[in-house]
Point group: C2
Chain length 171, copies 2
Amino acid sequence: MAATLELLTENGLGGVSVDEVARRSGVAKTTIYRHWPVRSALILDACTRLSSQHAAPDTGSFAGDLAALMGGMAQLLRTARWASVTPSIIDAAERDPDLATVHSRIQLEHSAPFQVIISRAVGSGDLPPQTDVQAMIADLLGPLYYRRWFSREPLDDAFVGGITERVLGRT
Amino acid sequence: MAATLELLTENGLGGVSVDEVARRSGVAKTTIYRHWPVRSALILDACTRLSSQHAAPDTGSFAGDLAALMGGMAQLLRTARWASVTPSIIDAAERDPDLATVHSRIQLEHSAPFQVIISRAVGSGDLPPQTDVQAMIADLLGPLYYRRWFSREPLDDAFVGGITERVLGRT
């Protein structure tokens, strides 16, 4: 796993093959296949370790929960090795159904806590009942992801706080 | 160029080498290098053809300009070969400075018309003078890109119109 994580970080997904992992780690391929029967299982396991899951916070208010989650996600995007590996996973997902599944699972891990806090806020009346949960998640995560992978502008606290304020301001 | 575009679409950026383009097209490598002195020049040219630039519209209102641009971008994301090649460009940009330049130029082509219409609306008083242009672009393009490459949910007209309404509604 250590060798897999190194290869992922250095070269993206294209650099991870069972052959290369065996060479780098000195572990026999048969042993690797005993733990991860297919390459995509090894990659899913490695990516899950890179990305570190968020639990849904429960600060007592929707604004507090949202600030906690957005801050955590911005931090992850600024620093985590996961952020530099993600584009290669998305690229592979365009062509390989196994990796499309890996991509969906990682994506779901990141969006699920948003789903939890937004649904709770709808239940408690902090958000209106007609709230489109999936659209709100896109409005929150979209600008973060846009800055990290597309415009490559800084993900500073002012920007992150601004997204939250704008989404909260219009509810 | 036709061979390059085929290879890009089939395999992403990793599938495009001057060797492979020469083999597929039957054109000598020396001839290819005469037109594109380095691989990244060939790739930039191909990506530019794939993505089709948008001119900034001028419909007479900011809402109209925005609807035209967002509709065009959603259409591009739903159909263009560019959309399936983009993740491999972003991936390469994480590690290769030449391709980071290619990525920035394509990114700028897509964001520039938004910059034009937002700045014009600030000038005409349709948007307040303190408008953060870059943050507004992130709020508009972020959710579109999020759906195309991350959550892979449908980019239907209701979703696209909703982004625009929410951004307009709070100005």
